[in-house]
Assembly symmetry: D2
């Protein structure tokens, strides 16, 4: 399987390395707008045949079976449409597209052409998220109460997108995958502290049925890096701390028992329970290796990948709604 990569910035060399590590795949072509970046890539990966500043060369090359797009999100749709129209399987970096409508059109085209369409929601492929997913799906967490995620750091300011489009795709994709249900409405708050009018801090509340609440705090302007998620259920509670070197997932046997006092019919007694904490062994191998394998395997096996176009679309809709809510001072935005 011959892979072409469009956009080879910070994330690019990781893509090349991981796709080359797949037995069934080879990166044969790379495009980037900057010639000096191509020169750098060329020195690192001398085996790549085609290096070009013109993405069209890849999109139309008969030598390329599948395209990976790692460019700014504003270009995802047009490049993606062209790739599909040229019969290439397609992996898009997160965020999938700039709008839900773009996502729908890509999905529709890929289906029509019977091509694989995948989004690189990298965190879904981590051992940590997989461990939590299995735990929730086994029913051991009990009834879900809330999902609360904080992702802050003194990071690179983007010039083109705000902190929601930059950081929240991670949290939203994890939340979407773990909760496995559609949000009903979004309310978000954010602020731009610099002249560019691009939000650098944002809070997103997501309402689900059954009183499940999601909340995400993303922030480019914090003194330390935090990547911490709390997930609470009626039987257990989970802390997922991605900054921990090995014990990334902690499962607490802590919860609440609601007792009905028969004598006083209006009184509900709430009892706390404190038990063991378990930090299960978590596979720490590189998630991007599994992303690239899933893309290659889904093409090979002619099946939908784990993080397909629909997963990308689902995340983009939440990001879109969050941005709309911010522009309206937190007003609730319903999702249909």
């Amino acid at each position: 399987m011959k892979i072409g990569i469009i956009g080879c910035g910070y994330w690019g060399p990781n893509l090349v390395r991981n796709f080359n590590a797949q037995e069934k795949a080879d990166v044969v072509a790379i495009s980037d707008l900057h010639q000096e970046r191509l020169n750098f890539i060329s020195r690192q990966f001398p085996a790549v045949k085609l290096l070009t500043t013109d993405a069209n060369e890849l999109l139309t090359s008969a030598e390329v079976d599948a395209i990976v797009i790692a460019t700014p999100v504003s270009t995802h749709f047009s490049l993606g449409m062209e790739a599909l129209n040229n019969g290439k399987h397609l992996l898009l970096e997160k965020p999938f597209t700039a709008t839900g409508e773009q996502a729908e059109r890509l999905i529709e085209l890929a289906e029509r052409k019977n091509l694989r369409l995948m989004v690189d929601h990298t965190f879904i492929y981590t051992g940590a998220v997989q461990t939590i997913k299995e735990f929730i799906d086994s029913g051991q967490l009990g009834q879900l109460y809330y999902f609360d995620s904080v992702r802050v750091n003194l990071g690179l300011f983007q010039h083109d997108v705000n902190v929601i489009w930059d950081l929240a795709p991670h949290d939203v994709s994890i939340m979407d995958y773990l909760l496995n249900r559609k949000p009903e409405a979004i309310s978000a708050t954010g602020m731009a502290h610099f002249e560019n009018n691009i939000e650098n801090i944002a809070y997103i509340s997501t309402y689900y049925d059954n009183n499940i609440l999601g909340h995400i705090h993303v922030n480019w302007l914090a003194p330390v890096k935090v990547r911490k998620t709390l997930i609470s259920g009626s039987k257990k509670m989970i802390i997922y701390d991605d900054m921990e070197p090995s014990e990334k997932v902690k499962i607490y046997d802590r919860g609440v028992n609601v007792l009905h006092d028969k004598e006083q019919i209006y009184d509900i007694l709430i009892q706390y329970r404190t038990g063991d904490m378990l930090a299960p062994h978590v596979d720490l191998s590189e998630a991007l290796k599994k992303v690239s394998r899933e893309f290659v395997d889904s093409i090979d096996e002619n099946r939908s990948p784990l993080t397909d176009g629909k997963a990308g679309w689902q995340v983009v809709r939440i990001l879109e709604a969050a941005n709309k809510s911010i522009r309206n001072n937190g007003r609730i935005v319903e999702i249909h």
Copy 2:
């Protein structure tokens, strides 16, 4: 100065001990609705003369100069009005009152009667908050960007008030004290996961002028205790972690420089700066000792206490607005 205490539950013995430790003050009377609690208090503090289940005895006693009210918030207003009407100085536990209007009427009455009116915003009297306050007021933080506070734990469920009235008074009083400005609007999200319909998790966004954003996460249902506040300014950033045994305040010399590129007029370059971190020595002595001293001194010196009725009112208004916003799915509530 003779002190009477109404309500002697969990916090009661701390109040007795700290007021007795003041040279100028003596706790002479205590009331509580439960006789067995009074018996317990009596064994611990045999010197207290009057122990009664009838708060009126204290409120009308000629032996009592000042009243401390540590009962559920729903009773603060009526007990407080009676205390002031009987010519007693008044210290109310947090939250000050159940409504902003009640707060206004207490303030008005205290002024008319020339009596001291104080709220026990304990955290304002901690070494940590005092250290941060001095730092901000000295201008070293630069222009304020945001205040973000998380206060979660597997705590006791209240039967009468929700998590906002229970936990957020701490964060709101700290935010109000440190930012020293009036919020313009509030948007809040919350959820009740148990049949009592009392919110056990809530998120409050507070909008200030100059693009300053406040955000508070309060939660009764978390596996571990967190009390962490981020305060970010243009020059420095602060982490205040009350769970740290000694290094509660960390000041990071980290920030962002905005550079204007003259060639490309639309481009704003943002540059990060990473410097030292300083954890200043923080006074760890008991805050309640300073609360009781401030109450006694303000009476003695016939002056307004640091956390006066207005401070209580300011916090109550934010709590009120947050609750109103929650009931309206996060709709913005303006504060005038």
Copy 3:
């Protein structure tokens, strides 16, 4: 049961409070060399009948059934002998005695008089140590490899004893209890950095049979408090961190498999195993309550207490040997 307490300094009020909390016991008499300390105690515990600067009053009082001695270790032996000679049951604070010989004589006298003799090795009664003990005794740790304990802080300098006599009794008593075997030899290193020639830092190595190694680092001169113990076995490893607020004990399913390569007979292959970590729920109730209950129950039930004279003697011998080794620059000291 009527309890008399000799020495009522820092630890004294805790002893009074916990013995009074025992249904079967009452603290009836307290002696301390300082009258102002007795006045302070009297205000706190008005029910105690006899307060005196003369320990002999307690030792000879017909009103006293059992004596608790919380004085400097140099006085333990003479006061203890007198207590036993006067027919009183005896609880000695740690360290039990200043020499192993003193310990032997106390044990011998208590046996002859059929009186209970106990040492307050408080940590043995913590939920954390009990949890670890059960785990080791169940065989789940596998074959023991080592016990490594660090107890350092910016603590109060003792004027009369060095850091070994001050801090190491805790670690040595825990090590002795958990390992449940007699050390064969001791080698210790230490240094006195101040003019008083009293060691403020020390390292103690303890050799057991079966290649089990013990090591203790005690230190009065560190910037932060550390109380951390590693216990490693062939199947599991334990970290006991007493500074953790709740997850004090962590059990790691990590270990080493030794494989014998049949082809290359001299080669031993060592394979690592990384599994789950479990932080079992640990009883956090006050250990001194259990100490006082054990003393009272052992008297009541006419049986040996958990931390009897022999446990005290065992610890003192290791401390004695460690001090001897330090004075000889780490030379090995055998224990018979």
Copy 4:
């Protein structure tokens, strides 16, 4: 400058990459005993001209100016002697040599031939150690009291050397560099828990003049990775925690004041002081880049490198003495 590297295992690619990043240097030849390793290296670094299983080809090649040896320590001496005899500058991985005598002979030969001789004590080149060094040398720490280092983890067991030769070179080289004085004597304890009779846990005490004590705990058999050093002086104390992602060095303004009470001439009063903690900004760039630059620059400038043969010799002597002491159950070994 043309560099040849002998031994290209785990550390090898890092050496190649960092030497190639030096403008003045190029890696032109690599030898390794395993052909498949050479093949792997060849794919990664296609520009290296000579890849051979025969180290002699490098040692005698006219194309090579300087040799880096990254083989097991048992081969350092013979390979190093040959390199020097062939007129090559020499960088040896840690530990420098297997014996002090070997170190002396290499130093002597390099001096005679006027060739650079350097040891790769990588940690000396970290921003953390450089920051601490400057702090100590400026006198701000005051009089040195002790150096205590813990380096433990569930690491790879070596088949040829024990945990002292494997891990302690790091701590000993840091201690030697920071304290900048010669130890007088060593006492060490260790234990081999597996059939190979190679110690997997060891404790090394190092005695210096002026009552300065060094202590190092190295251990292959711990459930978590620890790399923590305490350095205490009369004015300040330092914690250097290499596992911290950014705040690796913390300087505590904590100490002890010794007061002489004139009335009671024998009494020394010791008073604690608790002040601020500062975590200075630490350069986090790759230490090996600075190691390779120092080697190249020292050759270029015809001067002794920072970690010269003498630094290597000094460390080896301490390791040798520690091993001798372990074999004698902790008996003190003097260093002349």
